[in-house]
């Protein structure tokens, strides 16, 4: 798969190909940072209407429930296009918060 980088800011790097948008999230996902991350991802969804949105948490060092809002919101953004969400590279702490919220009902968590 050949991904093209379309957004590269401090909190998220977004790559895309024909059917997939991959958002590589970096740093701390809290209420303060979540807005710019979600704006960047929504911009990519609006442009590309992807079949699949991959949220890569490998670079995330902290996440509170603002990250849950971020995932649920992106699920609502991609749903009208029939897209699905895959969550990748979550650490133990982030998985705990995601499990608490029951996110596995909306997305595939790897």
């Amino acid at each position: 798969m050949l991904f093209k980088s379309i957004i590269n800011d401090m909190n998220v790097i977004i790559d895309t190909d024909e059917n997939t948008v991959i958002a590589r999230i970096n740093g701390e996902v809290d209420h303060h940072n979540a807005k710019s991350i979600r704006d960047d991802i929504d911009l990519a969804i609006d442009r590309h209407h992807p079949d699949r949105l991959i949220l890569d948490f490998d670079g995330v060092t902290f996440m509170d429930s603002s990250g849950i809002g971020l995932v649920i919101g992106r699920y609502n953004s991609i749903k009208p296009y029939g897209g699905t969400i895959v969550i990748e590279n979550t650490g133990t702490q982030i998985k705990k918060v995601m499990r608490l919220a029951g996110l596995d009902r909306l997305a595939v968590i790897k």
């Binding site: 701390e28 809290d30 209420h31 303060h32 979540a34 979600r38 902290f62 996440m63 509170d64 429930s65 603002s66 849950i68 809002g69 971020l70 649920i72 919101g73 133990t92 702490q93 705990k96 918060v97 608490l100 919220a101």
Partner: protein, 147 residues
Amino acid sequence: MKILNEIKISFPSNSCNEGLARSVISAFTAQLDPSVSEIGEIKTAVSEAVTNCIVHAYRGTHGKIEIVARHLEGNVLYIKIRDNGCGISDIKQAMEPLYTSAPEEERAGLGFAVMESFMDKVTVRSTENKGTTVIMKRKILSKQSDT
């Protein structure tokens, strides 16, 4: 319980201070020799409480957030987070998982659920138009839980 050490911090309800509050409490908690998992959970609980102050208590306004952290006898961490905001009219409803008064801001309604899940005890006191105080306690166990 005897207080072995204590800090008090106060800062304006700017969202950039969410990370500051987590860092300060994390540094204080280090004295209790927590595991990586414990420190992560405590930081998350503090982040939720401070975010509640910013998003809910001081919605559309600004105010002061005060945090008191204590190291209590028995290796117990005590954290009190107080605002002088709008208060909570129905604490029971506010603490229900998935309840939020700010869905437009993509709040998940899990703040108190996370606090209760990650801390041993969470107490909330609130008076409408005067403010809210959240008190959380957690006994710090050994680092063996990391293995």
